[in-house]
Symmetry: none
Subunit: 211 residues, 4 copies
DNA sequence: GATGAATGAGGGTTCATTCAT
DNA sequence: AATGAATGAACCCTCATTCAT
């Protein structure tokens, strides 16, 4: 088993270590994150972390995988049964991402930086993870989606991509705008976001639907 | 004059130094970029670079300004006289960005990382530059744009934002997809991109235009 | 515990390191003292010294405190039970300082320079130490001193200060004159110094005592 | 001629250069004084200063000699015709030193530090100057001094030294106490100093004079 | 004579990783 | 298994001095 030295630890200790490392990576990025700070915050010895993970790179990838796994599960959890309406489904995914970004700001930060500003030595491994997420989630995302209302002269894949690109852009815009506000503030404004999403939907629907 | 020690150098030497620094910054980001590597590659002494720029931060900002200045000029140069048609104008800007990203991959990399993953100590200065670019270019970008064909029941600003969000997303997608291909390969596929842009335009036009 | 990384070292190693650092500080002063030379002479790695003390400033203050602590103890040790006669007590203190300056020339040099030519960044910390030494030692120095023989028309504080100023000046003169001689040579001349001190005492006594 | 490159400069320029260097040495000491700052403040080129003085050490010694020469002359100037009374003469010298320390604080600072915390590489040269000053001034200082009132059973040299040691200690104490006050403030308190000097004189006179 | 660009050794400091205990 | 002291290469930066112009 990979990382078995770590996995065999009591759950409570694992949580403490993961939390400490995550916070350090979130605050400082991969390069500037200090293993010293991690072990201090986690209350373990310097050697331990290398005993568990071998080196900083592996540690980072472990944390990243942990986050991906947690975030994916939690995302499905928030979304619940996906709407069959294509716009609703995509919007709900976007809203869930926003919610998650504020529920777990440290995780979001690590994840965001992993895919955006990747240290050279991690590029390959991170790309592999990106591909995996893509392969595992996109098919399910598209499944059972009702595209019957799309105009017949439009490639449905293209239609879908149009919606996704726009909604993603909006979602990221929201997350960035609200970045420094508290989760509470953000959650209270979700209704306004939904309204705005729907304004864009009206435009797209006129372009994509046949009436 | 700021950086006059550097500016007075022979053009050839300046180019060599800028190139070496740019490459190092592009490959490693601000923090991990090594002034040692820069001077080695540029063939100058350790002290020289500090004689020219004072410190690493100034050096970085000089390179960044150089890139911004070059890229802005070149972008206008590629775009030429902007179309009055809103879709054409935005697409042409996107295509110019793509072209530029492949003409000058190092510059693009540095620029991209500057605005995306900013080292704490540079945040303020970079934000200042971002605001300046925005203030200097957005008004001209919107000027003389023909919005007469937008449906009367749509907020033109929202319409414009819809187009921009979608086109930007597409543009970034293209740049990322083709990231590891040669400039030549990319430039040869531009016609296909144009075609694809236009497919999205058809969808948006149906949503935004009154016929 | 402050400096616990260092304090936990075996006594022999601590001595070696303290000696090496002390010598470097004594020879070159705070600013020009090179941590490189220190580690080389102490036979430890570059990182070690920062592991132990954090930075050069802390290292210096540690050494300084070590010296103050040692010198104070040793001074009391040499002096023994202080004479109640005011002249004898002050002279004995002076002689003890002279003895100490030759017993531990490196310590004396560091101490002397610390209070005489203080690097700006250390001023506050050194002043704090000076005040502490003053507060802890001056009261005991004055305690149980027999001033009954001073003439009644003289302010005893002024009388005391006269003696101290003169004796201190003499003491420093001796230390400077003999600076480059061996401790042995100096110790052999102490009898002559005592004699000279006493010549000055005769003068002062005529001025201060009532007969 | 030594430093002839410098000596042939127009007087005004020499003054400017001396002033700039003196200030830098006074503020930072020999080691930390930056030749860069000197040439900047003096408005000359980097090369010039080495052309004039060869190296930093020579420059420092030139400045030091300049100060010694100026201070000595000015001291005699302030003192005027020396009193024949031994106490008055020594006190007047002390008062003149105090006055000079406030008239020319930069010069005093350089001079003070030169003799107190001497960089290793300058020790010999500075000692040579110290000896020269001593040899040139002490004889004149003693000349025509009226020692007739000293008690016959006292070695006059010892008596003189007693006075000098005490007065010097007092003088230095005053200079240090008033170090951060303005020249004006200090000059206004000179009367109080004179009074205090005289209190000590009364004590010494009782010890030294025969009545 | 005068310039100031260029040098490069050396400065203090950081940090992931190792390894004897 | 767990520790944490020790390592040493690499970091950015400073500076008196030189020398081609």
């Amino acid at each position: 088993m990979l990382y078995e030295n770590f996995e065999n630890l009591p759950e409570e200790k694992k949580k403490r270590i993961i939390g400490a490392c995550m916070e350090e990576f979130a605050r400082n990025g991969y390069d500037k994150a200090s293993t010293n700070n991690m072990v201090k915050k986690a209350g373990i010895s310097k050697g331990a972390i290398f005993h568990y993970f071998g080196n900083k790179k592996n540690l980072y990838l472990y944390i990243l995988d942990y986050i991906i796994s947690y975030m994916t599960k939690r995302l499905y959890n928030i979304i619940g049964t996906p709407s069959t309406d294509v716009f609703e489904r995509i919007m709900n995914t976007g809203l869930a991402k926003i919610r998650l970004a504020y529920e777990e700001p440290l995780m979001y930060e690590v994840l965001y930086m992993a895919f955006i500003s990747t240290p050279e030595e991690l590029k390959e491994e991170i790309q592999r993870r990106y591909n995996k997420i893509y392969a595992e989630n996109v098919p399910a995302f598209i499944e059972n989606i009702d595209m019957s209302r799309f105009r017949k002269d439009i490639n449905p894949a293209k239609a879908l991509e149009t919606i996704i690109l726009l909604i993603d852009a909006l979602t990221n815009k929201y997350i960035n705008i609200y970045r420094n506000k508290s989760a509470n503030e953000v959650l209270m404004e979700i209704d306004k976001m939904v309204e705005e999403y729907r304004e864009y939907f009206e435009i797209l629907k006129k372009g994509l639907y046949s009436y």
